[in-house]
């Protein structure tokens, strides 16, 4: 489909709302970018950018040195800013689309007269604005886990299909990003309904539809055809972003190298810095592991069973007959890294990492998987 130009996101949000979607987009919350319900383009984080490095995340105003007063705005969450400022000028945030497709906790069933009764499957329609290319790739990975096998999950499918994805190309990758070397970004190629490239001077968006749903949506908006200059400017965004990746991973021979590294001394060395806090698996957009919990349903006190995110960094994860199989931190760190870059390929035909850099940024002790891979 031909690409078009949108001068404002306001009509997009209004049309989506009119269609019955809850629109969720990036907002400034508690000093980070988070997905939250938005009602207007003014809710978007205009003028904000982030600094990310191993164990470090910081939001700041994009223009020049930190302006006085910006800290106040950060804390009060007043993210609105003047015209012309980028609204998607930051890299991956701790939230990913996983929160919507594979929520941290879901009720599986409740007991009615002692018999398990499935919790409702209907998923509310949500339009997710500002999904990054790495997260689109992560959704494709998740699809293989929850839909690709012998036991597809109809509740996941319902949530997935109720999600309308509006991707935004990355213009300002962070210091921990390496999507370019994983082949998952910084430009959205597939897996979206609409993909936007944000341009400044003047502020506008080049939009492309990636599905009939997306095409219908664009047709309903006030747009104009993209000019050659618009398209060239959009290309340039991708080219520049590519050169700004803070990290990279060499994929050549990686799967085999990791598989053969069972006895590497780095596991012990890394474990001495790892707190087994599970932050990396929680922020990771592809980690899918869960455990189950039995308890009383808050709504009416009946017994209910819930599924919630779990992590291979916990001791209980591998518990077997009273003791964990992976008792040492070294074995748990090895499981995480080996799964991402080696056994995931055996299981699902691709890597379990999309290069979003979140696990590096949010590691309290700054353990960097790209560095660990290089040391193997």
């Amino acid at each position: 489909m031909d690409r078009v130009v949108l001068d404002s996101l306001e009509p997009l949000i209004a049309v989506l709302t009119g269609m019955g979607y809850t629109v969720a987009g990036p907002t400034v919350r508690d000093g980070v970018i988070r997905f939250a319900e938005i009602s207007s383009a003014a809710d978007l984080p205009a003028g904000w950018t982030d600094e990310q490095n191993a164990g470090r995340y910081r939001l700041r105003r994009a223009a020049g040195p930190e302006a006085t007063g910006s800290q106040d705005r950060l804390e009060t969450g007043d993210a609105s800013a003047g015209d012309g400022e980028q609204v998607f000028g930051y890299a991956a945030s701790p939230d990913s689309a996983k929160r919507y497709t594979h929520p941290p906790r879901t009720t599986l069933f409740r007991l009615r007269d002692g018999v398990p009764e499935e919790a409702g499957r209907e998923a509310p329609p949500i339009a997710l604005l500002g999904v990054r290319p790495c997260d689109l790739a992560a959704l494709a990975v998740q699809d293989r886990v929850f839909l690709g096998g012998r036991y597809p999950d109809p509740a996941y499918r319902a949530r997935r299909e109720a999600l309308l994805l509006i991707a935004v190309d990355c213009a300002t990758p962070g210091g921990t990003c390496f999507c370019a070397s994983m082949g998952t970004g910084p430009t959205a190629v597939s897996g979206f309904d609409v993909a936007l490239t944000e341009l400044t001077g003047p502020h506008r968006f080049v939009a492309a539809a990636g599905s009939p749903r997306g095409a219908g949506l664009l047709a309903a908006l006030p747009t104009r055809p993209a000019t050659a200059a618009d398209l060239e400017a959009a290309e340039e965004v991708g080219r520049t972003a590519r050169t700004r990746m803070g990290r990279r991973v060499e994929l050549d021979g990686l799967k085999e190298r990791v598989a053969e590294a069972h006895d590497s001394p780095i596991w012990n060395e890394t474990a001495s810095r790892c707190l087994s806090c599970a932050n990396c698996t929680m922020v990771c957009p592809t980690c899918f592991c869960t455990t189950v919990e039995d308890g009383a349903d808050l709504a009416d006190g009946t017994a209910a069973r819930a599924e919630r995110w779990d992590s291979c960094f916990t001791l209980g994860f591998s518990e077997l007959g009273g003791a964990p199989v992976r008792g040492s931190g070294a074995a748990r760190y090895r499981q995480w890294l080996t799964h991402k870059f080696s056994t995931w390929v055996d299981q699902f035909g691709g890597y379990g990492c999309v290069g979003c850099g979140r696990c590096i940024t949010w590691c309290p002790t700054g353990i960097d998987i790209t560095e660990e891979l290089e040391r193997l």
Binding site: L108, E122, H262, F288, V292
Partner: protein
């Protein structure tokens, strides 16, 4: 700004109807009978409250749900009369204790059967060695029953069993019956005064049975150390590693490849296992804390 005169659909897709059962939803089964086996072990016969229970293959397991307590993987030990599963549970923790306490008439949840099976077709015409350690006899019971029922399809059949004490021996009456059909040897770790049989590791029994290694198929289930030692001994004697089947145990929260807990290197024990041949797992079992 209000969109007017647009060609866009008026409403978002209302939660598209998703067919198919949820893989994590247990079906209600009634406990038809409950038979205490040993001090800590109970055998339940389960029948579906509605409809029929799906067929199973020897070595497969179900996820048994004790209402409001939890859910655990338990092997299927046989068909229940009238259609259903026979499953033997040892009380070791919260969920298994709750299952063992379940009385006749009560409702529990069942998902499955799941996982790979002991391949009896591969054993046709060959000598068969069945090696069970402790509760490992439970998943092997359907294998042994098939061997007893159709002995002529196989070569020489031997069953070797290891148990802690004579009192912890599982299915003693059936073992006595099977010993009329083929060689059954039992060893105990700690004999009592009446015990006249072998004492010590089950690997010690491998020397006492007759089989032609090159033409032998083995089915092994028990604690991991016991399985590794037995498989290694059989392979050392010349049985091809691809014909030695083990049933592996890992933490399992789903049984259907979504919780991640049962991973053993590239394998999901619930989907790729629990029954796996030794050639596929020997190297993985060598790695500590994999």
């Amino acid at each position: 700004m209000t969109p007017t005169g647009t060609s866009a659909p008026r409403t978002a897709p209302p939660g598209v109807e998703q067919p198919g059962a949820h893989p994590m939803l247990p079906a209600p089964y009634r406990v038809r009978s409950r038979r205490p086996d040993r001090a800590d072990t109970v055998t339940l016969a389960l029948e579906p409250v509605r409809g029929e229970c799906p067929p199973f293959l020897p070595g497969q397991f179900t996820m048994l749900y004790a209402p409001a307590v939890g859910e655990i993987p338990i092997s299927i030990s046989g068909h229940a009369r009238g259609g259903g599963y026979v499953q033997t549970v040892r009380a070791v923790g919260a969920v298994s204790r709750a299952l063992c306490r379940t009385g006749a008439g009560q409702i529990i949840g069942v998902r499955g059967p799941y996982g790979t099976a002991f391949d009896l077709r591969a054993a046709a015409g060959l000598d068969v060695v069945v090696a069970a350690g402790g509760l490992g006899l439970a998943p092997l019971r359907p294998v042994i029953r098939e061997l007893a029922a159709h002995g002529s399809r196989y070569g020489r059949i031997s069953l070797i069993v290891g148990t802690r004490t004579p009192a912890t021996l599982l299915y003693p009456r059936e073992l006595a019956r099977w010993s009329r059909d083929f060689d059954v040897l039992i060893t105990v770790d700690h004999p009592d005064r009446a015990w006249k049989g072998p004492v010590g590791l089950i690997t010690g029994l491998v020397d006492r049975i007759v089989f032609d290694p090159r033409r032998t198929c083995a089915f092994v289930c028990g604690p991991e150390v016991m399985m590794r030692a037995t498989a290694a001994e059989l392979v050392r004697r010349g049985v091809p590693a691809g014909r030695v089947a083990l049933s592996l145990e890992r933490n399992m929260k789903c049984g259907v490849g979504r919780c991640g807990h049962c991973q053993l290197g590239p394998l999901f024990t619930c989907l790729d296992g629990p029954v796996l041949t030794y050639d596929r797992v020997a190297a993985l079992l060598e790695v500590r804390e994999l």
